[in-house]
Amino acid sequence: MKNNIKIERARYDLTQGDLAEKIGVSRQSINAIEKGKYVPSALLAIKIAQLFKLPVEELFFLEEGE
């Protein structure tokens, strides 16, 4: 699964640490999600999308074959 978190973070001028703090997760989690190493739970995905005022589908996308 791919995502646009890095772009949205830049748009809001947030560091990984800032975003992590706002959501209430660890900085490592944000980093792993951004890099596509970790697929977040639906709960976490919705929380991040809500923070950026986006529907989840505009922040996270399935890759081909998924």
Binding site: G24, V25, S29, K37
Partner: protein, 154 residues
């Protein structure tokens, strides 16, 4: 992230202290064969088997025997310290950290048994007894090392 078996984060530092003290003392004990009469006390053995140094009357169930409890104290320090370190919450505990912990546990168990299989095949006699001693602690240690490695890398 709710999980019902993790301790509060405040146990992390006492855990590290206990673990490190235990490891240092354990390595020292293994290398130096240090003996002290200070900790030689009477203990209850649920079962005491035959050994070269024990009297015949001490063999059997529920016997009070003399034993130096230094190694028991060190082993408990390493195990309790290791459990506190491995199973207390991180400062920020979330689903990703939880996954890292679970993955590290699986990795540690598999790695431990691979190493043990290797030792079973290639290490014999009394030296193998040492392997068994180390193997009491290695699953926990491999887990802690792997977990912290993954956490730093992430």
């Amino acid at each position: 992230m709710k999980s019902n078996y993790l301790l509060s984060n405040k146990y992390k530092i006492p855990g590290w202290i206990l673990l490190i003290l235990g490891l240092i003392a354990g390595v020292f004990l293994m290398l130096s064969e240090f003996e002290s009469d200070l900790l030689e006390i009477k203990v209850l053995a649920i079962y005491n088997g035959d050994s070269i140094i024990s009297n015949e009357e001490d063999v059997g169930f529920f016997k009070i025997i003399e034993n130096n409890i230094l190694d028991e104290i060190i082993a408990l320090a390493i195990i309790i310290g290791g459990l506190l370190v491995g199973f207390s919450k991180e400062k920020v505990e979330d689903e990703f950290i939880y996954k890292l912990r679970k993955d590290s546990l699986v990795w540690a168990i598999i790695f431990n048994y691979i190493v043990l299989m290797f030792a079973i095949v290639f290490i014999y006699d009394f030296t193998f007894f040492n392997v068994l001693v180390y193997n009491m602690f290695t699953p926990l240690l491999f887990f802690i090392i792997r977990f912290n490695f993954l956490k730093v890398k992430a």
